[in-house]
Amino acid sequence: MTSLQINGKSMKVDAPADTPLLWVLRDHLGLTGTKFGCGMALCGACTVHLDGAAVRACQTPLSAAAGKRITTIEGIGATRVGKAVQNAWLAIGVPQCGYCQAGQIMSAAALLQQNPTPSDADIDGAMSGNLCRCGTYTRIRSAIKVAAGQKGDA
């Protein structure tokens, strides 16, 4: 039995230690907000925070997540930055299909938590690991700036 701290709550899960956190969240704990996109940390759909840092849950074994503070998309709205990001996403109409957006929001929240006034280069650097097949990148960039209190682009 492994004990996990997820979104401020303690949860227990019975899974092999090398099970990726992604599948622990989705299949064992029913937290399906964190998405599967590639399984190889190439797409960012599975982004969660471990002790505030953005990581890809598909490449994070259960054993590495134990003892850390895990935040998922289901919990990020309880933070000031997370809520600001979510609100900006809605105000600008960022999502299309929306499937990648949990990962995008988690990466954006991690960026803004560390860097409240990111430049375009900072945004590129933090967000280029998150794929969007629907192509919402220009709106994501805009929404990050709005969440940061800057003026969004067109």
Binding site: I73, P95, C97, T138
Partner: protein, 773 residues
Amino acid sequence: MDLRTLITPVTPRPSGTRRRTFLKAAPLAGLVLGVGLPGLGHAADEPQKYGGDGMPHGLRDSPKIFVSIAPDGTVRVIVNRSEMGQGVRTSLPRIVADELEADLKRVRVVQAPGDEERFGNQDTDGSRSTRHWFDPMRRCGAAARQMLEQAAAQRWHVPLDQVEARQHEVVHKPSGRRLGYGALALAAARLEVPPRESLRLKDPATFRYIGKNDPALTDGPVIVTGASQYGIDTRLPGMLYAVIARPPVLGGKVRGFDAAEAMKMPGVVKVFTLDGTPPPSEFQPVGGVVVVARDTWAAIRGRQALKIDWDDGPHGSYDSTAFRAELEAAVRKPGGKVVRNEGDAYAALAGAAKKLEADYYVPHYAHATMECPAATARIVKGACEIWAPSQSPQAARDRVAKRLNLPADKVTVNVTLLGGGFGRKSKADFVVEAALVSKAMDGRPVKLTWTREDDLHNDYFHTVSAQHLEAGLDANGKVVAWLHRSAEPTIVSIFAPDPKTLAPFELGLGLTGMPYRIPNLRIENPEATAHTRIGWLRSVNNIQHAFASQSFIAEVAQAAGKDHREFLLDLLGPDRLIDPRQISEPWNHGESPERYPISTARLRRVIERVTQEATWGRKLPPRQGLGLAAHYSFVTYMAAVVEVAVSPTGELTIPRVDVAVDCGPLVNPDRVRSQIEGACVMGLSQAVVSEITFQNGRAQQDNFHQFEIVRMNAAPKRIVVHLIPADSYDMPLGGVGEPGVPVIAPALMNAINAAVGKRIRSLPLRDQLSAPV
């Protein structure tokens, strides 16, 4: 799924009810037509049906189907199209709510399961959900509004013309008495739906939601909080998880397998084979070895431990490099099937003052929806329930019913949110797989998930093409001759054995319907065989046809020493309406040629608008350039200007893309913009980095490190969409989901040519700019 309505109670159909079919069965009945094969589904003496009427099961507009109102006034609108980011779950309810005079904040959206007899056509494809359903949804909302007004007038014993529905209540104008919709719902439900002639649609000047710029999305709040339910997120009590090892080659089979190691993996429950349908397999599974386990990870690990011996079959030597040479050779010779011929292009070419020719290549692409195909099925007491991110839930339902040997009314396909579609999820193969695996597990709920490797290896790929173009110019630099040959395996290869040429709908996707004024024009379609599954991928054959023709026009303009924009407009000729039937394009996207002629004026307008907005002709620094392309597809007019900067090492920066779109009346302007922004990025991926190659019959790309798509750092810094407003809401609507794609690759390559004088004719760009000259 609770579909209780207070306007009409919905009771489940008793089993064994015979269903009247409203459409005569066609030879390819139940076929997901994607873009509609003309001439099927009606007898020769019936008038041709177009648009939404021409789709399987046609249109519906009764509020008794789509609208319910609860006593507290909550209005529920049923949406019969699948949501994959194009905003149908936002746009369609807004149309109903507007005519209904409902307060949008009190409207809830309910997703229809697959049931076309009830809900009309549910194929979410071909850029036609809003275009076909705008009028029916207006009528639906107006009818409901009038029924509420009638109910109020009856309740108050006043003449009908004294009452008026306004924002969720009906008001008696002389006295000011009012009743909310909730209070009137039951009485309204007892009334007959007013006949169509008596419907009073709103004056568009009074629209509250239609045409208004409102970025709010029905599912926005659940998407940003992780409460969203895509097909892959389905969870049922006692559910098992399955993955399938599929034959890597078209038509391949399991010759033998060893599951001993797989069965030892923790969590693995069962391993068995699934018979595949040999090509043409349409939307049936290709078969393989199924691993069922207690969670997805265990299933994946179990599958990794399988030892499988594949019988690759006849396509086991498919090599895309060799095939490219075949296609290119085929288009360099005359003699292919002639699909359009005006004048005498060969003679005019021979006599032309100046001649130009070029060859273009576009590879296979994968859909690569962010949500891989996945479906969940269970079979309880002889009834199968499915949850799937399907673009065609009726087609899925029909095929599952057939494979499980159940009557269709014993199969329910619940449509979840789709994490991307682009045409992949119109094919029901992954849904049928889930149903068959559940059956093999005695009806236990099973979630069947495709991994990214599965998705890239066993897609219904965008077809591969080689095109050859020749143009002849007279002494004044005017085009007097045009020859276009295209060889590409046809989508029909998944429906019929070994077809060799393109179907009318594929020709009509940007090849035959050239609206340019060219006196001698000849289009040929040499044969090509399919060696993989081919399917519809967002804008379909337009991708390669627009790439070649819009690139070549720019090349010819350059050869003639003319400005590309001027040359393109001159080639378009005077403003006129073209009957597509007159230019060998009878399919016309399934639309009436009278209602949807090709308007060169509208194409001219988007070209003029986009070049104006992009400040065409301005001087740019070295290694920077503007490129233009225009294309008519899905009855919408699109033009794009790409601004590109090319570094000395061949890296691209795209500071800006301008797109002008004329799609007729606008329902949801912000969604139109977002669709075109997204289509731009998808077009760029196809132009710059994406490619599926084959060796030994197998797709070579395993995941996103090999099948690349554009990331934020390579995306345009700005995409500016210019909407050309329609004169009136009586104008027919054009498609929006797909037309934004085909203009991008040619506009980009035209820009690169303008920037650094290098002409790219083979996609993707990859490192062609950094290769030594």
